[in-house]
Structure formats: structure tokens, C-alpha cells
Amino acid sequence: MIQTEARVLADVVRELAKLSVGVAVAACVTLSHAAEPLAKPTTVTPTIEANDLYGVAVSIGKGQRTKLTVVIFITTDCPIANSYHPTIEKLRRDYAGQDCQIVLVHEQPGTTTEAALTHAKDYAIAAPILLDKDHAIARSVGATVTPEAVVVDGQGMIRYRGRIDDRYATFGKKRPQATRHDLQDAMVAALQGKQITPTETKAVGCLIRLESSP
């Protein structure tokens, strides 16, 4: 009898635990609409290990191959993210010899390897590409927008998160050319061991629906 009660009580506790997660998720959903974002991760823990579209192992975080990893979130059809591929490719080429890798991560649920390969060909993408099927990578580095860039150092510390540059001021407000190159500035500062300012900017683009299932 006591055992049964204890079991039921344990069930209750378990259910309550699940529910509080539910409440927390619901609260997140609500809060994410408010102006003040939730605290974002400052490190990548544990290190992200994945194979890219071509079957090559990629790691992001402590123990990564290069001093810096720049993770940029994209989809095959976000027009703002797509318009940045020439800029991203130029960054990749310019910093390839400087112990820095750029990794692109797809965030649209249902993107197949085949579709991502076609997209890579269309936009002449040479960087490694990952499919983030359950948004695990976006969550672990705190990305919410495509295109949003996250700079991760060899200790797994997140050094910069935000826009690539300021070409888009907001939806439909595009500068003829960027006047601030926040990502490149952050990469240069991080490679030279200097302080990065700012460490966080607001990326303009399509929103990643983190709560959606793959």
C-alpha cells in the first residue's frame, strides 16, 4: 500500500516535472515575442559533432579543427540569407588560410541532402554545410535568424553572435552597401586576440521557428 502510494507520488512528481518543462517552453514562446530576449548561451557545450553534406566530419566548440569557427544559419529559400552567399564565400576565401572555418547550417525543416546540394551548386557555396534537423545546433549557439552568424573559438566560447553586416536595416530597408562589417570585424579581432565590440548584434532575416518539429 505504501509502495503503491510512493509510486503514484513519484508519477505525480514526474508529471509535474514534465509540466513545468511545458510551462517553461510556453513561457519561452511568449517571452520570445517580447522585446527582451532570453539569456543566450555563452559557450557551445557539448562540442557539436556532425557530418556535412559530403560526409566530412565537422566539429564546432572545444577541440574544433581551427582556431575559429564561424557558423552561419541559412535556408534554401530565405531571400536575405541567399543574397549573402557571395559575401560569405568571399569571407571564406579570405580567411581560409588563417585558421578559420566557415560552416553553413540549414534551418528550414524538411530540407533534404539533395535539396541542399542543389542549393549549394546554385549559389556556388564551397563551405561545409550541415542539416540541423531538430534545430539542435541553432539552440546550442542561440541563433534565431537566417542569416545569423556565430563565432566560436577553440575553447568553445561564443565570441560573436548576430548579423553579417548592416546591409539590411530592417525588412525592406536595404542599404546600397554595408557601412559596418560586424562579422568580419569580429573574426579579425578574435584571430588577433583582441576584444570584440559589439559581441552581439541583431540579425535581420527569416526567423527560425525553434519549436517546430523537423
Binding site: E15, L16, P86, Y123, T170, F171, G172, R175, P176
Partner: protein, 533 residues
């Protein structure tokens, strides 16, 4: 005992359920779970989004199915909140437009409630059938389809591209056009296009020397006899335009625009590079009226000729530069359609009609002008404006560094000009004379206004290029500029700062050279124009 515990558990679950619901709906009076995609949201999406967001159209992705919409729900909420989508620039006044694409407030509320509820799909039985589009042409099979003779390559990256292409029509007889539909192939890259008539096919075969079809600029407008006199006429022959998301409209009733025999159509296209190379080989679908309209359309531009004579000269850093111009109708008219044109630093654009009895009608009011979404707005019902009505256009420009679309950082003085980094500004109202017998009167009145604005332009330019002085392009000046001594001024001989403007004014045949004949014609015209009055 077990039962008690279970009851307790159920009670707790119920309590938390409510807590979850309250947390996710905020202050909503209704539980959000009553809003589902199939029952409520699909209908709105199909009505307001799918026309462009479907395969083969200008939207970057499809918005048709539950998956299409639910996976992009946060983005959709953001663009709705920012009033970026559906694209619609006029703010609400007493005037209603037939092509208003906006979501109604209750539709926005439904969409937000659906998102707050976690985007439930709802019962499949309730799902509406997605709209079917029987042909790629919105208005049905056109009477004539003209394709660009050659493809144009749009680069993957770099600044926006403006290019004019000749669509050869060369029909043996005059035709009346009641609608035009434009089908670009580089759909993501084409941001807008304007259609003009090229009388007699004067620009046929013209191309810039870069190996690609088409040409830069709008110098074709100065063709057909005298450059200055033909510009107003050629502009009045505009056939409308295209922006993504705009539904091609047939003109109301029997109204139609003239496409004269043996003319071509020139499409000036504005491209935004998309990140990958694109190929543009558009088709134009023409819909002809079966007979000439009983009344002819008259475009009234205020200020005239895109503001050529309105003295648009915006000092660097000024964020509130205002240009105002008005025109008093000489005859009773019916107004059908309105649209505006300006470039990147224009912020506000409005045309107000003040009737003789003092009544005001806000025909167009845009408080966040965007060159990318310049559109034609057709009135829900034609608006009667009696003689004596004053049409006032107000344009406000923001040439500060806080304007992200400012082509110059730091800001520079920006004046009227044809380049997208210069400025223009005007609102065009399409009318017919209430009594067709009055049409010649309003047509000549509008033409005089255009001539006057050119006259004002020449005066200000003559003052500016002091050297061209009282006797514009006098012999001594031409000798000074004519470095190769061939009696003509080649493009590279013209002072760089005024080069495009001078070619626009003087180079009638569009060969980028002002030859002796064009110099004399220009001198004569300037003499004529400044002597009149």
C-alpha cells in the same frame, strides 16, 4: 487511495493546462486552440499570400500547405507586424482601392492567435481547397505574347541594375491595350519594371556595348523629333508597370491605352542581385480592347515630368525636405487610377484633391515610400473631380545618414536626375475628361505644364553651368570642349558632372554624341523656350 491520487494528479494536470494556456495566449479572452490552420488560417493565406507565394511566381517560397505556413510562422508574424507583407504602401484614407492586398485587422488577429496556440493544423475535413490557377497568366490567355529576343544575365552580387529592353511588337495597325501582364524569368531578381511605347521602333536593335541585350538609362524617351518636345509626349505614352505582388488590372470599362502601329514596347527593368546568377528573358502578355475607347485617358503628373522643373535639390543631412506642387483642373474629369514615382531618399508622398467647395479627397497618401513597391492604385469607383479642383502633391525627402536607403554615406547634396542615386518625385493621376469634347483642352494644358517645367529646368541648369550662359553652347564653348575637333561633342568630351543631363537634353538620336545638328537644334530650342512667356 490510488483513486484519490489519480484525481489529485488529474486536477494538477488541469491546473497546469490552464497555466500553459494562459502563458501562451497572454491576455486573449478566448483559448487559442480554437484557431486552426485548416479552419481559419488557410483561407487567409490562400486569399492574401498564395498568388505570389506559389511555384513559378515572385515569392521566394510557397505559402499554400500547412507545412509551408507553419514552418515559417514566426517569419510571417514578423513581416505582418512590420507591415512589410503583403506589400502595400498607401495608408488608409477615405479613398478605397480595388487592389488592396492588406490583411484585415481581424485576419491578423486570427493569425497571431494561431501562432500563439502553437500552430495547430486542425481537422483535415475543414481544410479549404487551395486556389487553382488555370494558366500562368493571371488574366487568362493574352491576345499577344511578346518575348525578349535575347536573354540578359543578371550578376549574382553587386549594385542594383537598371536596364531597358526592347520588346518588338511592330504591329501593322493601331491597337488599344486594356491590360499588360509581365512574366519575368529572373523572378526573384526583378524588382519592378516600367512599360513605355517606342513609337516607330526607334530603339529597335539598340544595345550597350557590353555584349548583353538592352541598354542603360531612359534616353529613348528623348527620341522622335526634338528631344525636349518629345519627352513629355513619350512619357504620356507610358503603358504602366509591374511590381511583384501587384495583380495586373484591366483598365475599368472600355478604357485602353494606345499602342500605335509599328511601335515597340520598351520595358525598363530594375534588378536586385539575389546571390546567384540569374537569366532574364521576360514575356509580356497584351490584352487588347476590341474597339477604341469612347474616352481617352489623360495622365496628369504633379509635379510634371517626374519633378524635372520642381527644383528638387536636397541638401546633405536634411531629413525633412519638402516639395509641393499643385495643378488646377481646367475641366471636369473622372479619375480612375493613381501612382507615384521617386527614388531612394523620398519618404512621404501624397496627392490631395481640394474640390471647389472645399472638400478634400486624399487620393494617395504614402508615409514610407519604397521604390521597390511602386504600384498603380485603382480607385474602387471612379472619382468625379470638377473643374477648379486643385491637385496638390507633397513630397518629403530624407537625405540624412539615418536613412538606410540613402545612396550616399556620408550624405551628399542630391538633385533631380535620371540616375537612381539622383532624385525624382511626382504623382500621376489617370483621368478622362467628363465630356470628351473637353479632352483637347486638358491635354494641351498638361502639355504646356510639362513644357514649362522643362523651361524652369533649363533656366536652373543655365544658371548652374554659368559658362553655357546667355547663348547656350556658343561656338567658343564648343571649341573648348571639342578636343578632337570633329565639330561634335562625344560623351568623353562632356564635363563628367553634367554628362548624363546634357546627353538627356541634347542627344536626340541616342548615340552618346552631341553632333553639330543636335547642338544647333538644342540652341534653337533653348532660345525658343526661354523667349516664350
Amino acid at each position: 487511495m490510488e483513486t484519490t491520487s489519480k484525481l489529485f494528479l488529474m486536477a494538477m494536470v488541469a491546473t497546469f493546462d490552464r497555466a500553459v494556456m494562459t502563458a501562451s495566449t497572454g491576455a486573449a479572452e478566448f483559448p487559442s486552440s480554437d484557431v486552426t490552420f485548416n479552419e481559419h488560417v488557410a483561407r487567409i493565406v490562400h486569399d492574401k499570400c498564395t498568388r505570389c507565394h506559389r511555384p513559378g511566381q515572385s515569392g521566394p517560397f510557397s505559402l499554400i500547405t500547412f507545412d509551408d505556413v507553419s514552418s515559417r510562422a514566426e517569419t510571417i508574424r514578423a513581416v505582418l507586424d512590420a507591415e512589410y507583407m503583403p506589400p502595400w504602401k498607401p495608408i488608409s484614407t477615405d479613398v478605397v482601392y480595388t487592389n488592396d492586398r492588406r490583411l484585415a485587422e481581424e485576419e491578423k488577429t486570427l493569425f497571431r492567435r494561431w501562432l500563439d496556440a502553437g500552430c495547430p493544423e486542425g481537422a483535415t475535413a475543414a481544410a479549404p481547397t487551395p486556389p487553382e490557377y488555370s494558366t500562368e497568366w493571371t488574366l487568362g490567355e493574352p491576345d499577344l505574347v511578346i518575348e525578349m529576343p535575347e536573354p540578359f544575365s543578371v550578376p549574382a552580387d553587386g549594385p542594383d541594375v537598371y536596364r531597358s529592353f526592347v520588346f518588338p511588337a511592330d504591329l501593322p495597325e493601331d491597337k488599344w491595350v486594356s491590360a499588360i501582364e509581365f512574366r519575368p524569368t529572373a523572378r526573384g531578381a526583378v524588382h519592378h519594371a516600367l512599360f513605355f511605347v517606342d513609337v516607330g521602333g526607334a530603339a529597335r536593335g539598340r544595345r550597350d556595348g557590353d555584349g548583353q541585350p538592352g541598354f542603360r538609362g531612359m534616353s529613348f524617351l528623348r527620341r522622335g523629333g526634338n528631344a525636349l518636345k518629345s519627352m513629355p509626349e513619350n512619357l504620356a505614352r507610358g503603358l504602366g508597370g509591374y511590381v511583384p505582388g501587384a495583380m495586373p488590372n484591366r483598365l475599368p470599362g472600355d478604357l485602353a491605352r494606345l499602342l500605335p502601329a509599328h511601335s515597340d514596347i520598351i520595358v525598363q527593368t530594375h534588378f536586385h542581385p539575389t546571390g546567384k546568377p540569374e537569366t532574364e528573358q521576360a514575356r509580356l502578355g497584351l490584352y487588347f480592347a476590341s474597339q477604341p475607347p469612347k474616352k481617352r485617358l489623360v495622365p496628369i503628373q504633379v509635379p510634371a515630368l517626374f519633378g524635372i522643373g520642381a527644383g528638387i535639390d536636397v541638401p546633405a543631412g536634411v531629413n525633412n525636405y519638402r516639395v509641393e506642387d499643385s495643378y488646377v483642373l481646367p475641366v471636369d474629369v473622372m479619375a480612375y487610377e493613381i501612382g507615384g514615382h521617386a527614388h531612394y531618399i523620398c519618404r512621404e508622398m501624397a496627392m490631395t484633391a481640394t474640390l471647389p467647395d472645399g472638400t478634400e479627397r486624399h487620393l494617395l497618401k504614402i508615409d514610407d515610400w519604397d521604390l521597390d513597391w511602386q504600384d498603380q492604385y485603382q480607385f474602387g469607383a471612379p472619382i468625379a473631380l470638377p473643374a477648379g479642383t486643385k491637385l496638390t502633391t507633397v513630397l518629403v525627402y530624407d537625405n540624412s545618414s539615418a536613412n538606410p536607403e540613402n545612396p550616399y554615406q556620408p550624405p551628399r547634396r542630391i538633385q533631380w536626375g535620371r540616375e537612381s542615386t539622383d532624385e525624382m518625385g511626382s504623382v500621376t493621376l489617370l483621368v478622362t475628361a467628363a465630356d470628351e469634347a473637353d479632352r483637347p483642352r486638358i491635354e494641351s494644358d498638361v502639355r504646356d505644364r510639362a513644357q514649362n517645367s522643362i523651361r524652369q529646368r533649363i533656366r536652373s541648369q543655365v544658371r548652374r553651368f554659368g559658362g553655357f550662359g546667355a547663348e547656350p553652347f556658343n561656338g567658343a564653348l564648343v571649341k573648348l570642349l571639342d578636343r578632337n575637333r570633329d565639330g561634335s561633342l562625344q560623351q568623353q568630351e562632356l564635363p563628367a558632372r553634367g554628362r548624363d543631363r546634357l546627353l538627356d537634353l541634347m542627344d536626340s538620336n541616342g548615340d552618346d554624341t552631341i553632333d553639330a545638328q543636335e547642338l544647333e537644334a538644342g540652341r534653337q530650342l533653348i532660345r525658343d523656350l526661354t523667349r516664350e512667356e
